[in-house]
């Protein structure tokens, strides 16, 4: 703490003089010759905590043994805002590891993360080994400023015991089947309130975000020129009408009341784990939670139901991303660590096994060392399915999704009478918020 006092005094001295924002000029990426040995310290910021943070530590230790001249310092529990602020203030970490692909647009276009292409070319890294969707969400405007660090694929979890009791043969494959199954699985109390819910269709429940459900109808977010495509895409209307009719079947008030009594998503009281909800949209990481917190539960996994059978098998794909700050002090060593974490198949398998997330390279996916059970395999298949998609990167980050989410909470509450007019309004809001960031 004491070392900071001189800096504090300096701060005071300069405070009065500073008037205009002056972000440090972006450094030209000067990269070393091929084969040069890297050394020095590297600072890595990531968002993981506890068990997952420990897994990162282990892998980084291994990196340090193979690169004896490099020392890695890790700061855990850092969210995107903090990374952005640090970079903006000129003291960004060498490496940032984020859980949100939404920042790629902003970080690439503003140059906050450097373009990795020179390193990739120099080290002859073949990107075709990466899963195509992950390749998509790690670049923006032709600039590759991030690498994918494990991935998540979203599918459907269903409670086998409840399915058997209700006489439903297998997982629903279309939205209509999903609605029918949901109704069959729902149990009401004598007073009409909900005791168990087949599928809880509220968009702000657990992982039911519109981005996760969009692949069910093949809905698109943005036009090619970065404007909102929501109002013009009939697929959204299909999803929303379907959702609202199911919400109305339950009664919005009933659902609200039911939801208020449910446990938190990442707790042992997760409603699916407790059997309070029979069908749930979730990603592969849930498997680890189920094994840990609800080992007795008999469940199955399947891809998301779709409106068009041709699209069945795909789902929403996202993942963690990692990049080098423009004001990194040691970009060469930073790149060495990123390369180790995101292109070394052995490391990827180790990380995937430890975190129970999906490996991002085709080779790692096929690696016999990867722990695969049938449920995990389902998610690997969703991940590899050509119909899988992700949310498009945007300069304004996740603002467009959050804006639409707000519209949706109004919609499901019955506050939107005219859907077309409502969607047009949502378009306007999204476009307004898109110009806001950046």
């Amino acid at each position: 703490m004491n070392t900071r006092i001189p800096r504090a005094l300096f701060a005071l001295g300069t405070a009065g003089v500073l008037t205009v924002g002056c972000t440090p000029a972006a450094q030209e990426t000067k990269i070393a010759e091929p084969g040069a040995e890297v050394s020095g310290t590297v600072e890595l910021w990531h968002f993981f905590t506890e068990r997952e943070a420990a897994a990162i530590d282990t892998v980084v230790k291994e990196f340090e043994t193979t690169h004896p001249k490099v020392k890695v310092t890790i700061k855990s529990g850092q969210d995107d805002s903090k990374v952005t602020q640090a970079i903006g203030a000129g003291n960004g970490p060498d490496i940032g590891l984020s859980y949100s692909t939404d920042i790629v647009g902003k970080f690439c276009s503003s140059g906050a993360w450097v373009d990795l292409t020179p390193y990739l070319t120099r080290d002859k890294v073949d990107l075709s080994g990466l899963n195509p969707t992950t390749r998509q969400y790690t670049e923006y405007g032709g600039k590759r400023c991030a690498m994918p660090f494990l991935a998540d694929a979203y599918g459907m979890f269903y409670n086998k015991e409840l399915f058997a009791k209700a006489g439903i043969a297998g997982p629903p494959k279309t939205l209509d089947e999903l609605a029918a199954a949901a109704k069959k699985l729902t149990v009401r109390n004598p007073d009409g309130s909900l005791k168990r819910v087949g599928f809880l269709p509220l968009f702000d429940f657990y992982e039911n975000a519109p981005s996760h459900l969009a692949p069910a109808v093949g809905a698109t977010w943005l036009t090619a020129d970065g404007k909102s495509a929501i109002g013009a895409d009939p697929a959204w209307k299909t999803l929303l009408t379907w959702q609202k009719s199911l919400v109305d079947w339950y009664g919005y008030e009933n659902l609200q009341k039911f939801r208020a009594g449910l446990g938190d998503e990442f707790s042992a009281d997760n409603a699916f784990q407790k059997g309070q909800v029979a069908i749930n949209v979730d990603a592969e990481y849930r498997l680890a939670f189920l094994a840990d917190q609800a080992p007795e539960l008999s469940y199955g996994v399947a891809p998301l139901p779709t409106t068009d059978p041709a699209r069945y098998g795909g789902g929403y794909v996202t993942g963690n991303i990692v990049g080098i700050s423009k004001n990194a002090k040691n970009p060469e060593a930073a790149w060495a660590l990123i390369k180790y974490l995101t292109t070394d198949d052995n490391t990827i398998v180790k990380l995937a096994n430890a975190l129970r997330n999906l490996p991002t390279t085709t080779a790692a996916t096929a690696d016999p060392a990867l722990k695969v059970d049938p449920a995990f395999k389902t998610f690997l298949d969703i991940f590899a399915n050509p119909n899988s998609s992700t949310t498009p990167p945007s300069q304004s980050g996740p603002a467009y999704q959050e804006t639409f989410q707000t519209f949706l909470t109004g919609w499901q509450a019955g506050k939107v009478s005219d859907l077309d007019a409502g969607l047009a309004e949502a378009d306007k809001q999204v476009n307004s918020v898109m110009t806001l960031g950046g």
């Binding site: 805002s81 859980y99 009341k257 806001l436």
Partner: protein, 313 residues
């Protein structure tokens, strides 16, 4: 005084300045500079990562059709219109009650005062737990009475009233201020009123209330200012009631839960500034907030004699 020699006057000024220097620097550096800077940034587009670009009034025009802003303004106005008067009326009620107690007034005053010291984060967590819709003690107690309790922090209609309830629990500081006001009413006034046959209500209405009017004004103005910056409780209540995990104590996506009903103006400002990093727009919001807060302060300065700085000498 003007006849003093120059040397003495200079010394006097130097002494005065030595008393005031830290505060003057503080005002310039931590108030003047950021205020000017906020005004400047409000005319720019600035994302922290690239250099600010001059955009004129664009940020202010955007405020006109920002649905979130509208929502947050509505919520904040609701709080101003309900929270402030409810707190004042309750605080006066408690204060008057305390003055009427012949036994244990000090004891009761301590009890009523203590919760106001509880850290807002702690108090909010406690209330979200107490008001949990499913198994929370309040609804359990209500169920025993045959009442179907509301969803409190989980319902868009009840979330703000729940915050008001939380505010009432911490009413002690305001109560003490009114207590001093009520005790400051000269006893002779009450005696005169009693002789005229005034009952308790009349005595309160025509003696107590007019005498403590300046205190009420003070409480109203500071209450409005406090409500304009209402942040901690709304932020914590939203994230906890939503049941969504947040990382590292950082900015929560669940601000405003449920359905934006607890999304106050400062929450929106914080989100724009430190989540979207649209610093130009955030500063425009800040400038607008300053204008409102300043107007309220001016009302206070004009009305309250207490602030007219000259009554001493």
């Amino acid at each position: 005084m003007s006849a003093q020699p120059l040397a003495i006057r200079i010394r006097r000024h130097a002494t005065t300045l030595s008393f005031l220097a830290p505060a003057l620097i503080g005002i310039v550096v931590f108030f003047g500079y950021p205020l000017v800077s906020a005004v400047y940034f409000s005319f720019t587009k600035f994302d922290l990562l690239s250099t600010p670009q001059w955009v004129g009034l664009a940020n202010y025009r955007r405020m006109a059709d920002d649905p979130f802003l509208l929502q947050s303004v509505r919520n904040t106005l609701w709080m101003v219109a309900v929270f402030v008067p409810v707190r004042i009326v309750s605080a006066i009620g408690l204060a008057v009650l305390l003055t009427q107690l012949k036994r244990g007034a000090g004891f009761f005053r301590t009890i009523f005062f203590l919760p106001s010291l509880a850290p807002p984060v702690a108090a909010t967590i406690a209330f979200v737990y107490l008001l949990k819709p499913g198994t929370g003690p309040v609804n359990t107690a209500l169920a025993h009475l045959g009442i179907d309790g509301p969803l409190w922090f989980s319902s868009p209609e009840w979330a703000k009233p729940s915050l008001v309830l939380l505010g009432l629990w911490g009413i002690g500081d305001l109560m003490v201020i009114f207590l001093a006001g009520v005790l400051g009413v000269p006893t002779s006034l009450y005696e005169a009123a009693a002789l005229d046959g005034a009952n308790a209500w009349h005595r309160f209405r025509y003696v107590t209330l007019p005498t403590i009017r300046p205190v009420i004004l003070f409480a109203a103005v500071t209450g409005v200012i406090y409500t304009l910056q209402y942040f901690d409780q709304a932020a914590v209540a939203g994230s906890i009631a939503s049941g969504q995990a947040t990382t590292g104590g950082g900015i929560s996506q669940s601000f405003g839960f449920p359905e934006g009903s607890t999304f106050t103006y400062p929450l929106w400002l914080y989100t724009v500034g430190f989540r979207y990093h649209a610093l130009g727009y955030a500063n425009a919001l800040a400038v607008a907030l300053f204008a409102v807060a300043f107007a309220v302060t001016v009302i206070l300065l004009r009305r309250a004699k207490a602030f007219s700085g000259e009554e001493t000498s």
